[in-house]
Symmetry: C3
Subunit: 357 residues, 3 copies
């Protein structure tokens, strides 16, 4: 028998059409919910106030959307991205039925396409990952593409079979929980003063606070999701890497920026979709993260109780964009437009929010 | 519509008589209980031993008193103390009905009074905050006063309307849980050897151990309580502050000192009240915290099974007061009595403890 | 009354035959389970997948074996090892009935024997510690021996009454849970490809990943187990100690190495026993821990569904033993064989694993 431990798939291993059932399903509990709050200070009340959740028709408090995301993502790491050089982007990410504490999440991935680099030393792989609860209901699905290392850098097959990914998630794919009843929505619980109609495309909302990130926090975050990607943990090996140290799990930055965003988006009920997202620059322990939101679009869902907002959530580090000058994109030496080095997250996503009564 | 995000109230905004219902009620779960133990090593068994709790008449293990305190306090921060310069003191703090895992805590605050500084640039605000469970029962109430920043430092209204606060909580306000039955109290569970009668006013109990505090710990503590006060998180902004760095959440110091106090106060069942308390000096990451207790008073509750003890819990840093010389108060340059710079907590509080059988 | 706080037992206090019921039983909850995963990234699915646990006949997910170990161990610290200089070894450690979230663990210890040092300044104490659930069922029992400080170093009683400890745990003492039913064991859940028959004595399995350890993590780990040993916390006092700083709780290293071991041992269902174990060198914050497993023995349990494997789990620091030269033992100046300074754990233990169908 060959080596019993695995060192992960390489570009060559993830052939289009291949399907992988990820190991180690995860029962998400109120223990995970508490830990997630301790990591992020997340205040969206659907995930921390059982009474509020019940008033909206839910059985009890709901597992935070991003905790579901991280759990499914983490499941995929040993099979998909152990040898990833970078996580390049997300598309067509859709949240499904709500997850309750006690539910067990399983995940599987299908390879959608690949494109080898011209030098043949790396390649980009597109995958579609689906998370389900113990009843088989979809709780999340998304496409991501990853820059992969090759097992054999000397070969060059020239494969170039990149799939098309939608620029935004089609509203027909938005899952609005069947149990959701907004008739008793009480804004004194959220503290929110703004409704769907109040958010204007073009508007920018600064989320005010900044939060420093510690190494112990990002390690515990990634581990809570059983995400074992070495970039977040293996300080010894990383001494010889590009950055010379651990890189904060990019998903943790999404969580931190999202938690900050509560200040200004209090009435948001849930995330419907990620249209696209980029970890535009790495974050390291000691960095302080800030966030702002640009309102991109107000989407009429054809119902009187709620609508959707398409938002751009931007995370920046070591600069308070509310009070200091902070460019978003800048020209590099060759005149190409790049994210400013402080910009660590650019997430285009869509949320559900009540309409004014 | 004006800015959607909030930057917090200033001195001028908190006018006496104003009442605020704080946003984001919090369901406290066994996840929070576990996290609280990991932060503090809290060993008071009522909060970690369901069998012991049941033997005393409780339904199951009870949410630790201080976890209730931090949760209620945290709720009040966005409305009361986001622009606080310092949390000056506590008075008349009373614990109410026990909180069980699964209960949801709401909080509201009424402004009691204010006093502007003679320079008109700051002011002290007195508030009364009440926490309730989902049934509307009071779980905690307290007065605190805060040194606030002014929105407009150029005005000087000269307001001076400070409320009277009691020096100690009147025993008639002590809430002794109706379910409490001490007839089966088993000291082999607590490890305690001393009872109400054994504690002598004037006695000092050193709690022996010392615990270093890490930045990740204090951040996760404050976030667990959804306390977003920037002094604990925003390393970037704090570079330009008085201390140049993050300050440990003062409540975390209360928790650490209280957890240390188990060694010598093992039979204490619950906290009844805080008579007064001061975060006498700041604590920073890397500091090691020690604690001692001075027994102030033995209060006869007129019942045969238990009595109350009024205690002074003192937290000090970077000095082991059991083995090293550690002054409590010292004279400053002007001859005024000040806390020694190592003294980080001076808490006058009252606890419930069984009488000897 | 004498001092109310305790400073722990010394060598002289732990006389053979003495029995101690440890204080502060601990209800272990799903909050603790989540925290344990966040500390370790533990992926053995019996502890994190309720559906998998149920498919094997268990009521729900089971408390991780090592979380049970740490909890029982932590209970014994205030009575046994507060004045320990070093934890020398373990023997005859047996896991008993499974612990479920909500169970309450109590612990007691009997002193088995002692041996004073020839200089009379220290001594070795052997103790037998037993953990039980709220029904009185044994969940764990083990022998450990500890190098203890003496209360009075000037006396020298010459006591030398060391107990015999078995080199390995007799298979007749293995507790195979009555509820265990492997007929529906699904390796797609574990991701494992190897069964009892596939592990060959003499085989070495490298577990690939390495994980850095932060001070906040080890402190929170030890505190989660209410383990108050000062070596892990009291930075102030430790400035004057041999290492000048905090030492990582040795049990945390066992947990980290065990969590890493999942990669290569995925189908292991539970730990049956520790035959022996040594924290061969200290670990400090900032160290990166790696692990390998040597297969020592395949033990036929006389049943068709599963067998036992005796394994040596080795933890090393700051060297990736899969890709770098890493000696296990080396000769010291006097030619005596010692663990290489990088080797931080040498654990001889036995696990239960399904046989090939």
């Amino acid at each position: 028998m060959a080596s019993k431990s695995i060192t992960g798939n390489y570009f060559e291993d993830l052939t289009p059409g291949r399907e992988i059932v990820h190991a180690v399903p995860r029962t998400v509990t109120e223990g995970d919910q508490a830990f997630y709050i301790a990591l992020t200070a997340n205040r969206y009340p659907l995930a921390c106030d059982a009474e509020f959740a019940r008033s909206l028709g839910f059985r009890r408090e709901v597992v935070d959307d991003l905790l579901v995301f991280h759990t499914v993502f983490g499941k995929s790491v040993p099979d998909v991205s152990l040898n990833a050089i970078a996580n390049l982007g997300y598309a067509d990410l859709r949240f499904g039925v709500p997850v309750y504490p006690g539910d067990t999440i399983t995940a599987s991935t299908k390879v959608l396409g690949w494109r080898e680099s011209s030098a043949g030393d790396t390649g980009v792989t597109w995958v579609h990952t689906v998370g389900r609860n113990q009843h088989g209901d979809e709780v999340l699905s998304f496409i991501r593409w990853v820059l992969m290392d090759k097992r054999d850098k000397s070969t060059n097959s020239g494969v170039d079979d990149a799939p098309k990914t939608p620029a935004t998630v089609d509203p027909k794919h938005f899952h609005i929980p069947a149990e959701l009843d907004l008739s008793r929505f009480d804004a004194s619980v959220t503290g929110g003063r703004a409704w769907w109609e109040d958010y204007e495309p073009g508007e920018r909302i600064h989320h005010v606070e900044g939060v420093a990130i510690e190494e112990a926090e990002q390690q515990m975050a990634a581990r809570l999701y059983q995400n074992i990607a070495r970039a977040h943990f293996n300080a010894h090996a990383l001494k010889g890497s590009r950055f010379g140290k651990r890189v904060i799990y990019g998903g943790h930055i999404i969580s931190m920026a999202r938690a900050l965003s509560f200040n200004g988006l209090e009435n948001v009920v849930r995330i419907l979709a990620f249209n696209g997202g980029t970890h535009s620059n790495p974050t390291f322990a000691g960095d302080t993260v800030f966030a702002w939101t640009d309102v991109l679009e107000r989407i009429d869902l054809g119902r009187p109780d709620c609508g959707a907002l398409r938002l751009r959530l931007v995370g920046v580090k070591n600069c308070d964009p509310r009070t200091e000058e902070q460019p978003f994109k800048v020209a590099d030496d060759q005149g190409r437009e790049r994210y400013h080095p402080n910009v660590v997250l650019d997430l285009d996503y869509t949320v559900l929010i009540p309409r004014r009564r």
